[in-house]
Protein backbone atom coordinates (compact mmCIF):
# COMPACT_ATOMS: atom_id res chain seq x y z
CA UNK A 1 0.00 0.00 0.00
CA UNK A 2 1.41 3.42 -0.92
CA UNK A 3 1.80 6.08 1.73
CA UNK A 4 0.13 9.42 1.19
CA UNK A 5 2.10 12.66 1.48
CA UNK A 6 0.46 13.30 4.83
CA UNK A 7 1.46 9.87 6.14
CA UNK A 8 5.05 10.68 5.24
CA UNK A 9 4.78 14.09 6.90
CA UNK A 10 3.12 12.82 10.08
CA UNK A 11 6.34 12.08 12.06
CA UNK A 12 7.73 15.49 11.10
CA UNK A 13 4.51 17.18 12.16
CA UNK A 14 4.57 15.35 15.49
CA UNK A 15 8.21 16.29 16.13
CA UNK A 16 7.64 19.91 15.10
CA UNK A 17 4.64 20.12 17.46
CA UNK A 18 6.97 19.07 20.28
CA UNK A 19 9.17 22.05 19.47
CA UNK A 20 11.69 20.42 17.12
CA UNK A 21 12.60 23.33 14.82
CA UNK A 22 14.65 21.13 12.49
CA UNK A 23 11.55 19.00 11.87
CA UNK A 24 9.58 22.12 10.98
CA UNK A 25 12.32 23.15 8.54
CA UNK A 26 11.97 19.73 6.90
CA UNK A 27 8.21 20.25 6.68
CA UNK A 28 8.83 23.53 4.86
CA UNK A 29 11.23 21.87 2.43
CA UNK A 30 8.73 19.07 1.78
CA UNK A 31 5.72 21.29 1.14
CA UNK A 32 6.91 24.71 -0.07
CA UNK A 33 6.42 24.03 -3.80
CA UNK A 34 2.77 23.07 -3.31
CA UNK A 35 2.19 25.99 -0.98
CA UNK A 36 3.80 28.33 -3.49
CA UNK A 37 1.68 26.88 -6.29
CA UNK A 38 -1.52 27.60 -4.37
CA UNK A 39 -0.29 31.08 -3.38
CA UNK A 40 0.58 31.78 -7.02
CA UNK A 41 -2.82 30.61 -8.21
CA UNK A 42 -4.55 32.81 -5.66
CA UNK A 43 -2.48 35.96 -6.13
CA UNK A 44 -1.56 35.63 -9.80
CA UNK A 45 2.04 36.81 -9.49
CA UNK A 46 5.38 35.72 -8.07
CA UNK A 47 6.06 38.64 -5.73
CA UNK A 48 2.76 38.36 -3.89
CA UNK A 49 2.96 34.56 -3.87
CA UNK A 50 6.37 34.65 -2.15
CA UNK A 51 5.09 37.07 0.50
CA UNK A 52 2.06 34.88 1.09
CA UNK A 53 4.18 31.71 1.41
CA UNK A 54 6.47 33.35 3.96
CA UNK A 55 3.56 34.63 6.01
CA UNK A 56 1.76 31.28 5.78
CA UNK A 57 4.72 29.32 7.15
CA UNK A 58 5.24 31.85 9.93
CA UNK A 59 1.61 31.47 10.95
CA UNK A 60 1.91 27.70 10.75
CA UNK A 61 5.04 27.79 12.91
CA UNK A 62 3.35 29.92 15.54
CA UNK A 63 0.14 27.89 15.45
CA UNK A 64 1.51 24.38 15.10
CA UNK A 65 0.81 23.50 18.73
CA UNK A 66 -2.88 24.19 18.06
CA UNK A 67 -2.89 22.00 14.94
CA UNK A 68 -5.10 18.95 15.49
CA UNK A 69 -3.29 15.75 14.75
CA UNK A 70 -6.34 14.18 13.07
CA UNK A 71 -6.41 16.82 10.31
CA UNK A 72 -4.16 16.63 7.26
CA UNK A 73 -1.15 18.93 7.41
CA UNK A 74 -1.36 19.78 3.69
CA UNK A 75 -5.03 20.76 4.00
CA UNK A 76 -4.21 22.83 7.07
CA UNK A 77 -1.48 24.61 5.08
CA UNK A 78 -3.91 25.26 2.20
CA UNK A 79 -6.30 26.91 4.61
CA UNK A 80 -3.60 29.08 6.15
CA UNK A 81 -2.28 30.01 2.70
CA UNK A 82 -5.76 30.94 1.51
CA UNK A 83 -6.25 33.08 4.60
CA UNK A 84 -2.88 34.82 4.12
CA UNK A 85 -3.57 35.41 0.42
CA UNK A 86 -6.93 36.99 1.21
CA UNK A 87 -5.36 39.27 3.81
CA UNK A 88 -2.52 40.14 1.47
CA UNK A 89 -4.77 40.91 -1.48
CA UNK A 90 -7.18 42.81 0.74
CA UNK A 91 -4.33 45.12 1.70
CA UNK A 92 -3.68 45.99 -1.91
CA UNK A 93 -7.34 46.61 -2.74
CA UNK A 94 -6.47 47.24 -6.36
CA UNK A 95 -7.85 44.65 -8.74
CA UNK A 96 -5.56 45.32 -11.62
CA UNK A 97 -6.79 42.31 -13.61
CA UNK A 98 -10.41 43.38 -13.92
CA UNK A 99 -9.91 45.52 -16.98
CA UNK A 100 -8.28 42.66 -18.89
CA UNK A 101 -11.43 40.55 -18.97
CA UNK A 102 -12.92 42.45 -21.88
CA UNK A 103 -9.70 42.19 -23.90
CA UNK A 104 -9.62 38.43 -23.50
CA UNK A 105 -13.18 38.04 -24.74
CA UNK A 106 -12.42 40.18 -27.79
CA UNK A 107 -9.30 38.15 -28.50
CA UNK A 108 -11.26 34.92 -28.41
CA UNK A 109 -13.82 36.15 -30.88
CA UNK A 110 -11.19 37.03 -33.46
CA UNK A 111 -9.41 33.74 -33.56
CA UNK A 112 -10.32 31.98 -36.79
CA UNK A 113 -10.82 28.42 -35.52
CA UNK A 114 -13.92 27.45 -33.57
CA UNK A 115 -13.42 27.38 -29.78
CA UNK A 116 -14.24 23.66 -29.59
CA UNK A 117 -11.49 22.82 -32.08
CA UNK A 118 -8.87 24.53 -29.96
CA UNK A 119 -9.95 23.03 -26.71
CA UNK A 120 -7.71 20.07 -26.38
CA UNK A 121 -6.61 19.38 -22.83
CA UNK A 122 -3.32 21.28 -22.84
CA UNK A 123 -4.78 24.26 -24.58
CA UNK A 124 -7.75 24.31 -22.26
CA UNK A 125 -5.44 24.20 -19.27
CA UNK A 126 -3.42 27.09 -20.56
CA UNK A 127 -6.49 29.15 -21.31
CA UNK A 128 -7.97 28.26 -17.95
CA UNK A 129 -4.91 29.63 -16.18
CA UNK A 130 -5.23 32.85 -18.15
CA UNK A 131 -8.91 33.06 -17.34
CA UNK A 132 -8.22 32.44 -13.65
CA UNK A 133 -5.71 35.28 -13.66
CA UNK A 134 -8.32 37.68 -14.98
CA UNK A 135 -10.86 36.84 -12.28
CA UNK A 136 -11.22 39.28 -9.38
CA UNK A 137 -9.27 37.84 -6.41
CA UNK A 138 -12.43 37.27 -4.35
CA UNK A 139 -13.88 35.00 -7.02
CA UNK A 140 -10.58 33.38 -7.93
CA UNK A 141 -9.84 32.37 -4.33
CA UNK A 142 -13.15 30.57 -3.91
CA UNK A 143 -13.11 28.72 -7.22
CA UNK A 144 -9.47 27.62 -6.83
CA UNK A 145 -10.03 26.35 -3.29
CA UNK A 146 -13.24 24.54 -4.24
CA UNK A 147 -12.65 23.20 -7.75
CA UNK A 148 -8.88 22.74 -7.76
CA UNK A 149 -8.14 21.90 -4.10
CA UNK A 150 -11.53 20.41 -3.25
CA UNK A 151 -11.93 22.26 0.05
CA UNK A 152 -15.48 22.16 1.46
CA UNK A 153 -17.62 25.32 1.40
CA UNK A 154 -17.50 25.44 5.18
CA UNK A 155 -13.68 25.57 5.31
CA UNK A 156 -13.50 28.14 2.51
CA UNK A 157 -16.04 30.37 4.23
CA UNK A 158 -14.19 30.07 7.54
CA UNK A 159 -10.80 30.99 6.07
CA UNK A 160 -12.15 33.90 4.06
CA UNK A 161 -14.28 35.20 6.91
CA UNK A 162 -17.50 35.04 4.89
CA UNK A 163 -20.73 33.06 5.19
CA UNK A 164 -21.17 29.75 3.41
CA UNK A 165 -23.89 31.34 1.31
CA UNK A 166 -21.52 34.10 0.21
CA UNK A 167 -18.90 31.48 -0.64
CA UNK A 168 -21.43 29.62 -2.80
CA UNK A 169 -22.51 32.80 -4.57
CA UNK A 170 -18.89 33.69 -5.35
CA UNK A 171 -18.26 30.17 -6.61
CA UNK A 172 -21.28 30.36 -8.90
CA UNK A 173 -20.14 33.70 -10.33
CA UNK A 174 -16.57 32.53 -10.77
CA UNK A 175 -17.59 29.37 -12.64
CA UNK A 176 -19.92 31.33 -14.85
CA UNK A 177 -17.18 33.82 -15.76
CA UNK A 178 -14.64 31.06 -16.40
CA UNK A 179 -17.03 29.25 -18.70
CA UNK A 180 -17.83 32.48 -20.52
CA UNK A 181 -14.10 33.18 -20.94
CA UNK A 182 -13.28 29.69 -22.18
CA UNK A 183 -16.32 29.25 -24.36
CA UNK A 184 -17.21 32.70 -25.63
CA UNK A 185 -20.40 33.05 -27.59
CA UNK A 186 -19.45 33.76 -31.19
CA UNK A 187 -21.09 36.52 -33.20
CA UNK A 188 -22.83 33.84 -35.26
CA UNK A 189 -24.28 32.16 -32.19
CA UNK A 190 -25.33 35.49 -30.80
CA UNK A 191 -27.10 36.36 -34.05
CA UNK A 192 -28.83 32.98 -34.02
CA UNK A 193 -30.03 33.56 -30.48
CA UNK A 194 -31.65 36.90 -31.34
Amino acid sequence: MTESVDDVLAPLVAAAREGDDAAFDDLVRATYAETYTLAYRLTGNDDDARDVVQEAYLRAYRGLRRFRGDARFTTWMYRITANCATTHLGRRRKHRHDELTEDLAVLDEHVGRSPEARLDAADLRHRLQEALATLPPKLRTVVVLRDVYDLPHEAIAAELGISETAAKVRLHRARKRLRADLYPVTSEERARAV
Binding site: D21, F24, D25, V28, R29, Y32, A33, E34, Y36, T37, Y40, R41, D46, A49, R50, V53, Q54, Y57, L58, Y61, R62, L119, A121, L124, R125, L128, Q129, V143, D147, V148, Y149, D150, H172, R175, K176, L178, R179, L182, Y183
Partner: protein
Protein backbone atom coordinates in the same frame (compact mmCIF):
# COMPACT_ATOMS: atom_id res chain seq x y z
CA UNK B 1 -32.09 24.97 -14.47
CA UNK B 2 -29.22 26.99 -15.92
CA UNK B 3 -28.00 28.02 -12.46
CA UNK B 4 -27.70 24.40 -11.37
CA UNK B 5 -25.89 23.02 -14.41
CA UNK B 6 -22.41 23.55 -12.96
CA UNK B 7 -23.23 21.45 -9.91
CA UNK B 8 -24.84 18.83 -12.14
CA UNK B 9 -21.68 18.69 -14.27
CA UNK B 10 -19.54 18.45 -11.13
CA UNK B 11 -21.61 15.45 -10.05
CA UNK B 12 -22.72 17.21 -6.89
CA UNK B 13 -26.36 17.64 -7.80
CA UNK B 14 -29.07 15.54 -9.42
CA UNK B 15 -31.80 17.37 -11.25
CA UNK B 16 -35.42 16.65 -10.46
CA UNK B 17 -37.60 15.04 -13.17
CA UNK B 18 -38.70 18.36 -14.61
CA UNK B 19 -35.14 19.68 -14.82
CA UNK B 20 -33.90 16.45 -16.37
CA UNK B 21 -36.64 16.51 -19.01
CA UNK B 22 -35.69 20.08 -19.87
CA UNK B 23 -31.98 19.33 -20.28
CA UNK B 24 -32.75 16.27 -22.39
CA UNK B 25 -34.52 18.52 -24.87
CA UNK B 26 -32.41 21.67 -24.61
CA UNK B 27 -29.24 21.68 -26.70
CA UNK B 28 -27.97 24.85 -25.06
CA UNK B 29 -28.17 23.32 -21.58
CA UNK B 30 -26.51 20.12 -22.82
CA UNK B 31 -23.67 22.16 -24.33
CA UNK B 32 -23.34 24.04 -21.04
CA UNK B 33 -23.04 20.80 -19.06
CA UNK B 34 -20.37 19.53 -21.45
CA UNK B 35 -18.45 22.79 -21.16
CA UNK B 36 -18.60 22.69 -17.36
CA UNK B 37 -17.41 19.08 -17.37
CA UNK B 38 -14.38 20.05 -19.44
CA UNK B 39 -13.79 23.05 -17.20
CA UNK B 40 -13.84 20.91 -14.04
CA UNK B 41 -11.54 18.33 -15.59
CA UNK B 42 -9.06 21.06 -16.42
CA UNK B 43 -9.40 22.51 -12.90
CA UNK B 44 -8.67 19.14 -11.34
CA UNK B 45 -5.66 18.69 -13.57
CA UNK B 46 -4.21 21.90 -12.14
CA UNK B 47 -4.15 20.21 -8.74
CA UNK B 48 -1.31 17.91 -9.79
CA UNK B 49 0.69 20.65 -11.45
CA UNK B 50 3.36 22.26 -9.29
CA UNK B 51 4.78 25.67 -10.11
CA UNK B 52 8.41 25.90 -9.10
CA UNK B 53 9.29 29.15 -7.41
CA UNK B 54 12.48 31.01 -8.31
CA UNK B 55 15.44 29.96 -6.15
CA UNK B 56 15.78 31.54 -2.75
CA UNK B 57 12.22 31.09 -1.48
CA UNK B 58 13.03 28.23 0.90
CA UNK B 59 16.05 30.07 2.27
CA UNK B 60 13.91 33.19 2.88
CA UNK B 61 11.19 31.19 4.59
CA UNK B 62 13.63 29.28 6.79
CA UNK B 63 15.41 32.51 7.76
CA UNK B 64 12.09 34.09 8.77
CA UNK B 65 11.19 31.02 10.81
CA UNK B 66 14.58 30.97 12.50
CA UNK B 67 14.09 34.59 13.48
CA UNK B 68 10.61 33.80 14.82
CA UNK B 69 12.09 30.83 16.69
CA UNK B 70 14.71 33.04 18.31
CA UNK B 71 12.05 35.52 19.36
CA UNK B 72 9.97 32.69 20.81
CA UNK B 73 12.95 31.28 22.68
CA UNK B 74 13.77 34.70 24.10
CA UNK B 75 10.16 35.19 25.10
CA UNK B 76 10.08 31.75 26.80
CA UNK B 77 13.34 32.52 28.54
CA UNK B 78 12.12 35.86 29.81
CA UNK B 79 8.78 34.37 30.80
CA UNK B 80 10.65 31.66 32.70
CA UNK B 81 12.73 34.25 34.53
CA UNK B 82 9.64 36.27 35.27
CA UNK B 83 7.97 33.18 36.74
CA UNK B 84 11.09 32.46 38.81
CA UNK B 85 11.20 36.07 39.98
CA UNK B 86 7.51 36.10 40.90
CA UNK B 87 7.94 32.71 42.58
CA UNK B 88 10.81 34.13 44.63
CA UNK B 89 8.72 37.09 45.74
CA UNK B 90 5.84 34.79 46.65
CA UNK B 91 8.16 32.52 48.66
CA UNK B 92 9.75 35.46 50.43
CA UNK B 93 6.33 36.92 51.24
CA UNK B 94 5.12 33.59 52.58
CA UNK B 95 8.26 33.20 54.67
CA UNK B 96 7.92 36.71 56.06
CA UNK B 97 4.25 36.11 56.86
CA UNK B 98 5.11 32.87 58.61
CA UNK B 99 7.80 34.56 60.64
CA UNK B 100 5.44 37.35 61.72
CA UNK B 101 2.74 34.82 62.68
CA UNK B 102 5.27 32.78 64.65
CA UNK B 103 6.56 35.87 66.41
CA UNK B 104 3.00 36.96 67.28
CA UNK B 105 2.18 33.53 68.70
CA UNK B 106 5.36 33.43 70.79
CA UNK B 107 4.61 36.91 72.13
CA UNK B 108 1.10 35.82 73.11
CA UNK B 109 2.43 32.72 74.91
CA UNK B 110 5.00 34.84 76.67
CA UNK B 111 2.28 37.31 77.65
CA UNK B 112 0.00 34.53 79.03
CA UNK B 113 2.84 32.95 80.95
CA UNK B 114 3.82 36.31 82.42
Amino acid sequence: VSDRLADVAAGRLLLDDEGRRHVEQCLRCQAEVVQYRKLFRAMRSLRTEVIDPAPGLVADVLAAIEEAGERRALHDLLAGRRVAYLGGIAAATAAAGGAIALAARSRRRFHLAG
